[in-house]
Subunit: 169 residues, 6 copies
């Protein structure tokens, strides 16, 4: 569930038009509708010990970095950290808003884990449209979204590019 | 996550106004904004064996109706069924769309479990504004939403009334 | 949880033989057997961060009230709280003792969430028989149980009425 | 599971008043109260794919016997099976009835996994008091319970001895 | 998963003594030790309905592609599919063998989801060393592993490049 | 955990080529290969509140020793403790390294829970070969492994004997 704040002014106009504003599950945002530098932010998601334990159980990755608080005390980072795949999965989930009927995920590039995420850290995600270009297939274009995850100290913990294949109008 | 289908026409007008349509997390829907008989529907949520096992684990309710397929074969209903509290929790979760900054849940009334929900059934939820009346507290009103959960055969499985306490403009 | 059907006759012999009575899974408590103001209490159940994370995952309700510790710090309540549906589900699970072969849940009324439940709070539940009346169906009666959940400071966090449809002898 | 401390005195009054006895969480069953060959049985618990996936996640045991349906097809047993530790944990949980205030688990002996348990099998557990003998500590005795788990075809899947250290009156 | 540090010297003695080698948790594989086209494969991991339900709960991604069997029946793909992030997380977990003390994950590139993964599909992962080049930091090199996930019909479902930053001897 | 079958021959070539050995999932360790007093240790696994909550949910054991922090405060041990079956399951999982194709678990003996394990404790497990004797079946032998689990203060929390039935060469 992503988070766009509709300003009160905007809400008023929608309500004036007799539509109640609620949550959209399905939209149609064409390649032509995307705007460079357009940005949106999500709410925070606190990464809990539970998330790490469940993710270890889901993936089979029981490395002591995640599961052994005593071993971690003796390392430079000092405490258990979240799996990179956990932060990536949660970030993608946070940015998944409405289903865009005319676009689909093409892939991900340049996924980097910049800083560890520890138990109790809260991450927020910002998505910025960084590139728009035609796809070799006629009638389609590729949209590149820069996805940045930050912790509560505003430090970048993860980045990647999300590539969308979108229909043209 | 609730599911309102914005017609293509409506989406076009919003997009023309240079707003991208995504998911709202925060809105301001005042008591005055609610309209009787206004209705919305959610997507379906398939109730899985996993949901029942996890809910038993969460609540400690291990009654054989939910946990013992052999015992259930010998009963009129013939197979394991979901906990009522599971269906209620999932239905409430499905209908939770945007956070309405100017209203809050007052309570629930008349919660009835009409038909059992079995593994593999898919439920959808419909919400209808049924009543609007002043609250004794000045500047506030009570909104009654009728919440109906249906299975994939369109049979009603659960109903309740969700009472909201909403600010007046 | 073991499963022995203790008829009143059998219970009498156990008591006569000076055995303390272990756990019954199946009983027959008729409408006539319920007594007004009869009361029972449950043990405590500490509500953990794990419970909240699992419940969010079960229901899809990821509101920041439950999932974003930073956002919560900026609110009057200051910290993450449990979902109302979590407390309701856990309370119902705590009060589910033996299976009463001659009664079934008719529904719930007046479900109110009085105070938030925070991570680390321990809830106990008290059930009091508040009303007994005939049901329109001959041979059946309706039993109203007042269900009250308290935290470790004895504050009421949740109340509701549980209505049972019970056979008469 | 509700929680009322039923003293023998209280149980007597309930029985005298013709009430069927609900669930006791706390009892006092002294070494002297145990009787050889006394037996009790539990309800069934269907072992689901969910149980196996969750247990793998809890223990880190991702052996293909539990996690790889294709690999299992090529083995004599043909399908995924439950972890022995899962069956042992579930069996112990099923037999845990009331808390006996005057006894505690001393240990387990002769734990054998006789037959594999497959997804969809339902296990029931039978407990029989097999041995009673003094403990070297004065005022205490050792109770040996034979714990047998069966599947829905009445085949024994697991056995062990549960040793209790119980106070004498 | 047991944990013994096997130095090359120790491994040599074990092999000399005719012992088959058990599981290593910690190794030292330097940049110089990686060989182009070197390949390894994992066991299969059956993707279960439980995995999808748990992953939805972990990420908040409740799209009907994963959660609504009825909606899926009406789509070209016909049934519920796993989240891409689930397959990516499980694949990375499957390939995580011993902890290499002298290398770390640098990032991922070209992550593509080629075919959907459905409930009951079993995935295996193959890792091939595709590129070795110096890193701008002296004493370090970048190793590119091609990671390919296949289903039980040998169809490629996911690919990506895993970049490791490894110390030189 | 990756899965490569390393035959002794293959291991020899790897060692000859100066490669450190990664993780083996499948080995052949015959009865003749076991050596008395041979020992191995595992990494630590921090036992979290999440583990206890999930284990209660898996087994149905909701005793206040595990679930009620307030009740625990009034007991000598003062705080919630892990289920014995949780510690046993986790210990067995930790010691499960490679799959030994020529041996299988025969059973467990003398399982004792020596000290409680509290939330936040980290356990490590040590396995020592304690006994080797012929099995009545020709060509087979019984291997007794002493399994000891310790907490971070090096105190023994659990012991048992794991009996393996192993083929002779």
């Amino acid at each position: 569930m992503n988070c766009v704040l509709y300003t009160p002014a905007f809400c008023k106009t929608l309500v004036a038009g007799n539509y109640t504003i609620d949550c959209c599950m399905m939209v149609r945002k064409y390649f032509d509708d995307f705007v460079l530098e357009e940005t949106r932010e999500t709410y925070g998601r606190t990464i809990t010990e539970t998330d790490i334990v469940i993710h270890a159980g889901q993936t089979g990755d029981f490395f002591p970095h995640h599961m052994d608080a005593e071993w971690c005390k003796a390392q430079p980072f000092g405490q258990r950290m979240a799996h990179g795949t956990l932060i990536f999965s949660v970030a993608v989930g946070l940015t998944a808003g409405a289903i865009n009927e005319v676009a689909m995920t093409y892939g991900y590039e340049r996924l980097r884990f910049i800083k560890p995420v520890f138990i109790g850290d809260t991450i927020t995600v910002k998505v910025t449209i960084k590139d728009l270009k035609d796809h070799k297939k006629p009638g389609f274009g590729l949209v590149t979204e820069l996805v940045e995850a930050f912790n509560q100290r505003k430090e970048t913990v993860m980045v990647c590019e999300h590539i969308l294949l979108a229909q043209k109008k």
